[in-house]
Amino acid sequence: MACRMPDLAPMKPLSPLFAGLFALGATAVIGCGSSPPPTSQVATSSAEIRAAKELDAESVPSAQYYLKLANDQMSEAAQLMNDGQNEKAARVLVRAQADAELATALARETKTKKAAEDTQAQLRALRNK
């Protein structure tokens, strides 16, 4: 990635050449904004979206909207990181995570409700025999 901090040489007395390189590296970092890319937040948010999809959130009406918000914000964050706006990307990713968590819970709610209804129907069937 363009914004990654360059590897620094071991701490030896700096030669003029190294000092020059260091200055260049520092400039690059400042150019990219003051924070590194939020890779762990990307992983967390992606994982939450996967969890929602595994619960079939895409086909659950109540969950669809929030899953879409999460996906859209993931794309937005990727674009922001591309543009070097890591801090802003991190914020969007946190929102995406919150939306994905909600989508996951909503998908689970539907399943749980279905299971509860099935069990109650079973019970009624048994009692009406």
Binding site: Y66, R95, A98, A105, A115, A116, L123, L126
Partner: protein, 287 residues
């Protein structure tokens, strides 16, 4: 002109204050009303920890809003808070549904177990009843068998295609040309009656036979009367009238040669035929 100027200035100032007092974001409003709602919903009882997380998120959002209402941080935290509040509500509902499922499951298991127990005890009762019936039938068969055994000491008892046949000699039962029973007949006929009463489900036929001497019509009539006499006696001694009938056969179906005196004596006889067991069922007929 001056008045207009001050009014305008104050309007501008007022509008500036209006702008400064940034209204809460829709997310913050959502989070506030959602949190109030969640406190009276299932989350309160089922997922209090989730509700607390939501409360903390809302608190952070409120601080950020107070600190700087228009800031990105305030908007972000309000957004997160609104989602956490909804999350707490959803998870509360999930916990509630799970509880209701578990309850229904428990009730189902209990009811199923009960049904099984009921069925088992019903089956056991049926089995016991069946065993008792079988035992009773075996006992009855044994008694009938015993009765026939005792009878076989006094009369010829054999099986043929018609069933069990008890043959009694005519000379033991009747005087010549008479159809009234001799006093000596009663011992044998009592035994026959006992044997028949042990098998109340069987149809019984009393056949009268003569030898070939004399007039056929007379023989026929005599055989009928003799069979009827035996039938009457058996009914008097406890055999069900609707299960027993009598038939006169005259000189038909001889069992011995009518040319000899001994043969003729053998042909003069009464046969009591106990028919095969009827299909007996103690259960209700199927419909």
């Amino acid at each position: 002109m001056k008045l207009v100027g001050t009014t305008l200035a104050s309007l501008i100032i007022a509008s500036m204050f209006g702008c400064a007092a940034t209204p809460p974001s829709p997310e913050l409003v959502d989070a506030r009303t959602g949190y109030a709602r969640a406190q009276t919903g299932p989350a309160k009882a089922y997922t209090p920890a989730e509700l607390e997380t939501a409360r903390q998120a809302l608190e952070k959002a409120e601080y950020a809003y107070k600190d700087d209402p228009g800031s990105q941080k305030a908007k972000d935290l309000a957004y997160i808070a609104s989602r956490k509040v909804m999350l707490a509500e959803v998870r509360g509902r999930i916990a509630q549904e799970e509880k209701s499922r578990t309850d229904a499951d428990e009730a189902f298991k209990t009811a199923a177990q009960q049904e099984l127990t009921d069925k088992n005890s019903m089956l056991q009762n049926q089995n016991e009843q069946l065993n008792m019936e079988q035992q009773a039938r075996r006992n009855a068969e044994q008694r009938a068998h015993d009765a026939l055994d005792r009878l076989s000491a006094l009369a010829a008892v054999k099986e043929d295609t018609r069933g069990t046949v008890i043959t009694l000699s005519g000379s033991v039962l009747f005087a010549t040309n008479k159809s009234d029973l001799l006093p000596g007949a009663s011992e044998r006929l009592n035994q026959v009656a006992d044997a028949l009463k042990e098998q109340p489900d069987r149809d019984v036929t009393v056949f009268g036979f003569t030898d070939s001497q004399g007039n056929d019509a007379y023989n026929q009539s005599l055989s009928e009367k003799r069979a009827a006499s035996v039938r009457s006696y058996l009914i008097e001694h406890g055999v069900s009238a609707d299960k027993i009938k009598s038939v006169g056969k005259g000189k038909a179906d001889p069992v011995a040669d009518n040319a000899s005196a001994e043969g003729r004596a053998n042909n003069r006889r009464v046969e009591i035929v106990i028919g095969a067991a009827q299909q007996q069922s103690t259960q209700q007929p199927m419909k």
